[in-house]
Symmetry: C2
Amino acid sequence: MRDVAALAGVGLKTVSRVVNGEPNVAAETQARVRAAAEQLDFRPDIHAGNLRRTGRKTRTVGLVVGSVANPFSGALHRGVEDLAESRGTAVFASSLDDDASRETRIVSEMLSRRVDGLILTTVLKNQSYLAPEQQRGTVLTFVDREPLGIDADTIVTDNAEAAAAATAHLVSVGHRRLAYLGDRAEIWTASQRRTGFLRQLGRVGVATADIPVIEGLHDEASAFAATLRLLDSPSPPTALFTSQNLVTIGTIRALRTRGMHNRVALFGFDDIPLGDMIEPGVSVVAQNPYEMGREAASRVFARLDGDDSPFSTVVIPSTLIHRGSGDIAPPADGLAP
Amino acid sequence: MRDVAALAGVGLKTVSRVVNGEPNVAAETQARVRAAAEQLDFRPDIHAGNLRRTGRKTRTVGLVVGSVANPFSGALHRGVEDLAESRGTAVFASSLDDDASRETRIVSEMLSRRVDGLILTTVLKNQSYLAPEQQRGTVLTFVDREPLGIDADTIVTDNAEAAAAATAHLVSVGHRRLAYLGDRAEIWTASQRRTGFLRQLGRVGVATADIPVIEGLHDEASAFAATLRLLDSPSPPTALFTSQNLVTIGTIRALRTRGMHNRVALFGFDDIPLGDMIEPGVSVVAQNPYEMGREAASRVFARLDGDDSPFSTVVIPSTLIHRGSGDIAPPADGLAP
DNA sequence: CTGAAAGCGCTAACAG
DNA sequence: CTGTTAGCGCTTTCAG
């Protein structure tokens, strides 16, 4: 910048003014400065400026998701990005793999880079460690999962309700022998979905004591194995509820392996790519991750713009998509009680 | 930091030493400083430090991809992240949507944040605008597509060869009336794949003059429409080659709409999720985006660590996955010449 | 082993 | 409309 000022024959501050589009610079001076900047290929250092600038905004937000390779996270990321981009804000993205030990490290890494806001899909049981940072002015927004031990804007899906609705559908088709296949119970969404599943069964008077509730599944392989075990058990379920996209896929593979994909009903949480093209079509609860990301970013920017209303939780509605697998009726041979 | 120094009763530089793990600090002093830092919830500002630090590394890289919501980009992103994470380097990610007008803006945004390196899937015809930045020391690496007008490390797939191999397979099954469905010809990968497709036909003596080459497809909808047009033409092709994942999906939808998915052969470039579960299984050229991302990051870090060997192009091999759609034979009714 | 002074690239606050 | 001085939070340099 010094070089630019020298080349243009003006003071340092004048260059600063031109670069930042501040008023009170003669058009002719402006042109001269611009030319000099171009010639020297000058690029202002946003961080050096922020050091002194009031407000100290880095126009950077951090996004912490399950995995950037997961389509759910990808769509959410894109939602965040689309809003951020329109504000000249850059996005740091990091994957957690639901590994609690990574959370503090990644968050800390982002904070040392002075992000203005943090959009978090958390794994840790408790987010109270973020309170001092929130106090300091960093905007915290939680997405997909509710935080514990801290108050902040939160964007979630109607997990329990949607799970209950999917379950209700399976029951309405005639199923009584259902099974739940889901992720680790510590994960907030997983436990919400299980709750919705069981609550609905209770509501319609299906005894939940004999319903297999299998948890701790986090990838295709573990879901595949768990489903095979269920199918091979003495009295296999006639309908399955899977609580997550990877689990759904693993389960479908297992059903196909046993040739049961047209016999056992399936309702999955999370949409899966090409779910409409496989046989039978996969019935799912489709979330709206893109909208969740957009809404989260929107909350962050509102806060950065001074919104100081009480923290709120926004529920992004999900939709039941009926494609066939959820409409498979139980066998009529009396296997179902 | 000043506060920490005051609380610990030491000089500023001593705190700096402790925070950065530099030697020559008495164990007892170190403990005192650490306690003070903890108490004040001190977090060093990486950018303030970089201002004066020799080398000025921000431990940040930028990644520019097609779209973070695309599974190809997601896997690539993850490959970059996994390597970056092990080095305490954060990753900025941005989507381009193959929109040339966004490229300069996004790149400029990242440069003003002083990323140490840039991993780019470019759209612009020419990347010579980056030369001054490269001179300045920013490490540039191109991935998926070769740059023009600039010399830098590049990571690509064996596009033409793999496309030729897939084409060879379709021909070996007996097809002579093929068609190519692909993205805009300006996109380097698209043109490479088309070249491979046509070159292979030439090699085996299939007249390419009558082969439909449809370009400019960039999403499911456009691919769907183009495929329908082909299928409804007077002499429809017996085999299709699609040059990209979204195009492949749109094409499959069109084939199903016309009930031709078990009659017309299909080979796609890029793997698609659940491609093995639909009927028929989708034969594809599977790239290795994760490995491409990893390799790109590895090149960036090698350069940052001082590697100054000549720039090179690394080809990450892809694999042909035969799942059925590529093995559908042409009809025996003499339609094929 | 420790600290004081200078300065990284930029903007704030004021003076011209 | 323009420039000067101070200082952001940290590291460097160099003197204790």
